[in-house]
């Protein structure tokens, strides 16, 4: 249960001098370096528009860098299989039930019907939605949809989970509850998690390590180990350690904000 328990093994994600310039000259990433150890939970914290989604898409293999190196999985190489991706909104197929939505990744991989239904049921139970398996997305609340989306990402039992501001559109209470559930899932699974957010509190609560990014093009401003306990509950947010951590992260973001202006 100690943080960074797998930190010794070769990095699960390795970025070296990664550059991504969009047509029109928008430089989202200009030589970014980042290592994420296997089994680590890293939060990427940065202002909106700084290049966080761009970074995540590169790691997922949905986009290619113009320069530098993106290595995912060990042994290092262009191994994108076993990556789960959660978008800012749930993005479910509205014509499919919860069960069929969650089974989709396995269906696309050609897993037989019974096996994928069993795996989908397990993933749905993991996010606490067993009762909703036969419902359509339209009949779910925003928070439930997001949990279906997470179950869909978990169903392939990925070694790496990428989340792009997954709870940003939810109300605060729901967000806190999902943060706690995600934390539990991580503790139980040993996945490598890269979690993008622009919420300081969320980054501090969830991660073992918070990487603070600058405005576009994203540079690493600070790389902070979170010294909080492995098991975390809602009250952690009120402890002096937690408040001190968010204060430090706020300070990093604030000084950069004034320096770049």
């Amino acid at each position: 249960m100690t943080p960074g328990r797998a930190a010794e093994s070769s990095p699960a994600i390795r970025l070296r001098s990664v550059r991504r310039v969009f047509p029109g000259g928008v430089e989202a990433l200009a030589g970014l370096d980042l290592d994420v150890a296997a089994g680590e939970f890293v939060a990427l914290l940065g202002p909106s528009g700084c290049g966080k989604s761009t970074l995540l898409r590169l790691v997922a293999g949905l986009d290619r860098p113009q320069g530098g190196e993106v290595a995912v999985g060990s042994p290092a190489g262009a191994e994108h299989r076993g990556v789960g991706y959660v978008f800012q909104d749930a993005h479910l197929l509205p014509w499919r039930t919860v069960l069929a939505n969650v089974a989709l990744p396995l269906e696309l991989a050609g897993v037989p019907r019974d096996a994928r239904a069993a795996a989908a049921r397990a993933a749905i139970a993991q996010v606490g939605l067993a009762d909703a398996a036969t419902r359509l997305p339209a009949a779910l609340s925003g928070g439930m949809r997001m949990r279906v989306s997470i179950a869909r990402a978990l169903v392939t039992a990925p070694r790496i989970l990428l989340l792009d501001e997954p709870f940003a559109a939810l109300d605060e209470l729901t967000r806190h509850r999902l943060d706690e559930q995600l934390r539990e899932l991580w503790l139980a699974s040993g996945m490598t998690v890269l979690f993008v957010t622009h919420s300081i509190g969320e980054a501090a609560f969830l991660a073992e390590r918070v990487v603070v990014l600058s405005p576009r093009p994203a540079r690493v401003l600070a790389d902070t180990r979170v010294g909080l306990p492995g098991r975390r509950d809602a009250l952690l947010r009120t402890t002096p350690e937690f408040v001190e951590l968010t204060r430090r992260l706020t300070a990093v973001l604030a000084t950069e904000g004034s320096a770049s202006r």
Binding site: Y85, H91, L93, L104, T156
Partner: protein
């Protein structure tokens, strides 16, 4: 449930009855000659007297219109998929589909007779030509407006072209495709009737278009109205069938077919 249905059916029904009453009164009061504008009662009488002929014609036209519509649905969606799948297909083909929409049907109907002979074939083709364009355009639009995040999701899991088409793009395009099919339903009937002006026989195989032409030459304006009314009903029926299919397919998940609760 019953009250809601009544609420939807009653207003147009009342409006229809009122309009007919007004029409009937006006024709009688001003003594309008029947060859110019027959009263609704006369049209109804003509409809009853010539029910056999008109009914047979309705079947002939309905058959051709349905055939043309099905052809449009099938080829329109296939063409839409091809156009939306590759830029070069779009560049090569799209301009000509616009031509389909602007072609003056009455002018090329004789050509259809040259190619397909008289009978149902040229009439169905005429219905097809007139009705295929909205199906193509709506299919292309629907396929093009698929949520990019879902496209990414399918790429992440390395979905095949067929999986992307059948599990994502076509289902996502269904609401747009149905919108195109609804427009096509009415157009197919128009195309069939116009096609019959040129391409069908008088006699037992006469469709509504042929009958309308004959009645108009003979100044049987009441029968003409009856024939035209039946053609409209045919269009309405086809439109209704498509709407029903659309509702059955979409109502569980798409906003366009869900009742506004307010």
């Amino acid at each position: 449930m019953i009250r809601r249905a009544a609420g939807r059916v009653l207003p147009p029904l009342l409006a229809f009855l009122a309009a007919n009453l007004l029409w009937e009164t006006a024709v009688r009061v001003f003594d309008v000659p029947a060859y110019l504008l027959p009263a609704p009662s006369r049209i109804l009488a003509a409809l009853v007297t010539h029910a056999a002929t008109l009914g047979r014609a309705l079947l002939v036209t309905g058959h051709a219109a349905l055939l043309g519509f099905l052809l449009s649905a099938l080829l329109g969606v296939v063409a839409g998929v091809a156009i939306a799948s590759a830029r070069w297909v779009q560049r090569a083909v799209y301009p000509f589909t616009v031509f389909l929409q602007t072609v003056p049907l009455v002018a090329i109907a004789p050509l259809l007779v040259v190619w397909f002979g008289f009978g149902i074939a040229p009439v169905a083709v005429a219905a097809f030509i007139v009705s295929v364009f909205p199906v193509i355009v709506n299919t292309v639009t629907g396929l093009r407006s698929v949520d990019p995040a879902l496209v990414d999701l399918f790429r992440l899991y390395r979905a095949s072209w067929a999986a992307r088409l059948f599990k994502l793009r076509l289902p996502a395009a269904l609401p747009a495709i149905f919108a195109g099919l609804r427009v096509a339903a009415g157009l197919a009937v128009i195309g069939a009737v116009v096609g019959e002006f040129v391409a069908s026989y008088a006699g037992d195989d006469a469709g509504i278009g042929m009958l309308a032409l004959t009645y108009s030459r003979e100044s049987h304006t009441d029968r003409l109205f009856a024939a035209v009314g039946l053609a409209s009903l045919l269009g309405l029926a086809l439109f209704g069938a498509v709407s029903l299919a659309s509702w059955l397919t979409l109502h569980r998940w798409h906003a366009s077919e869900q009742e506004q609760v307010r």
